[in-house]
Symmetry: C2
Amino acid sequence: MAGRRVTINDVASLAGVSIATASKALNGRQDVRASTRERVLAAAAELSFQPNALARGLLSGQTRTVGLLTSDSVGRFGIPVLLGAEDAFGAGEMAVMLCDARGDAIREQHHLRALLSRRVDGIIVVGESTNPRPSVSKDLPVPVVYAYGPSDDPEDVSFVPDDVGGAAMAVEHLLALGRRRIAHVTGPRHYKAARDRAEGLRIALEAAGCEQAGETLWGSWSQRWGRHAAEMLLMAEPGVDAVFCGSDQVAAGFVEAARERGRSVPGDLAVIGYDNWEVLSTETRPALTTVDMNLELLGRTAAQHLFAAIDGRATPGVHRMPCHLVIRDSTAAA
Amino acid sequence: MAGRRVTINDVASLAGVSIATASKALNGRQDVRASTRERVLAAAAELSFQPNALARGLLSGQTRTVGLLTSDSVGRFGIPVLLGAEDAFGAGEMAVMLCDARGDAIREQHHLRALLSRRVDGIIVVGESTNPRPSVSKDLPVPVVYAYGPSDDPEDVSFVPDDVGGAAMAVEHLLALGRRRIAHVTGPRHYKAARDRAEGLRIALEAAGCEQAGETLWGSWSQRWGRHAAEMLLMAEPGVDAVFCGSDQVAAGFVEAARERGRSVPGDLAVIGYDNWEVLSTETRPALTTVDMNLELLGRTAAQHLFAAIDGRATPGVHRMPCHLVIRDSTAAA
DNA sequence: CCCGAGAACTAAAAGGTTTTCGGAAACGTA
DNA sequence: TACGTTTCCGAAAACCTTTTAGTTCTCGGG
């Protein structure tokens, strides 16, 4: 804590020039003599002058600040997206205002107003799931892009992981290993992520002319459900040689229960997870082969497109970002 | 996206008053006739006027914005602190600017300058561990409080979890259950958290006139290490009847390996973790008794004290926030 | 009808910066 | 010397809001 804030006026006085000249010198403008510029720069350094971003923003109408609105408590999936965005912005001297609406629409409106009154240049809305969410962009004076959870308005700009493609990739991996009796254990049906991943499985199996082993088992995103499903499945479909799980939590539970039932993974049973949540996927035994949604890249891309939109080059529509497969020890040839 | 921004001038014109009157009406000041106020409010609503926070901040010198500087990628521990802070601020119409320095001192300085140039009213620095970190507060024009990771300058305001107390609480619980041969498996020695928790253990044992079973096993914060330590410990100290683990990850690995070695938890062996990281502590079998550091409360408290410091009522020193014990199934009477 | 008091309103300044435009100085050319 | 051209610098406006210090209006009492 220290004294009064130093303004460009102080710098100008110390350098013995007008504030106009000081401004030009500090901003690298042309029409100022080299020696003068040096004097100003020296004065600024001596006073450790920091231009007032408020004044600058008031004048230019640009705050170089964006709002990051998360709909649910910055969760599992929000974090990497946020990090990626922060990364992209950080590079360009942008600042990020973080607002967490806690899943409450009222609070969301409130935060939205707060962001607008602070004159952010743009807003990223980070969803808690890949289910489409109500658009906030109607009649907003700034561009908005949606990350992870898309807007329900197709005119908006949204970035989501390509879960269908990611799931297909996982299943193709299993098929390439010679697995043919593939089962699917996943989360609740009301999650679009769960439905999309089941759809990717269906597509990959159909392309290979292969039947799914048993019905898809819908449950919750928990380890407990994975264990439970393993018990049911190993009983009902003893011939299964591979399981595609809708999340790493489910997969972790599944391999644990399978091991306890004496099934070797990946020998008897290849298992694939989803999310690449490292605390789980690398700590199970064996470590999980899993699908990584590249969430940080997704966040970074969303941020870059927000930049573009701020510059008036918007790219409407839902953009699906490719996933990639992380191969560990839970899958191997039959 | 829509047209030009509406200013108080537009509102005043529409209401047929001067901007001074409009301002007073909007801010609930006294000397304006009720009917006039109504007209202004109606006009503001019709134009959906949002006061420009930049202009307001420029004038008042208060931006109602705080900076949140995290030293490491908003991690495991940063999140809850951040959430708590955001919560406390949200209530008071404050906005939060999030900066992630990625553990890089240069980047930290950069973010710090950015925050100051944006004229934040205060800054919270969130550490990645409880190890003291270099102070950033020297000669800053705004107050700073440190959360989770304390500043190395005792003049600064820091809030940290009371790990010594938390560990003692855990061990007292084990003692109350009649356990007497208590071992300790924890993370790397260069973590103050690990050292503090070992110290809490020592104090509690000493107070009970009890000896620790074996030496403290220092390792890493991983499940893998927990499993490994379990194998070593059960071999070397077969008489152990309780284990205090330095983190839930270690504890999760420990109980898993113990189960596999045929030791029943909590029957043969009571196990306590630390952190209450729910994805682990509730999903292990049995679910883990563990110490919760109340990180959200810690964040909220730090935020409230930042408010106080902004109002000139600072409270220097390192404040230790109490932890609490979450009792689940991994502990029971001997 | 005038006066005075109080209520209601407005003009103007302030906050810090950038930008535009006009002016001054320096210099070269006729 | 007179004039034109560059080069460099400074005054002032603009951004939007709040606040201060007036100014006008209203109305009751004399």
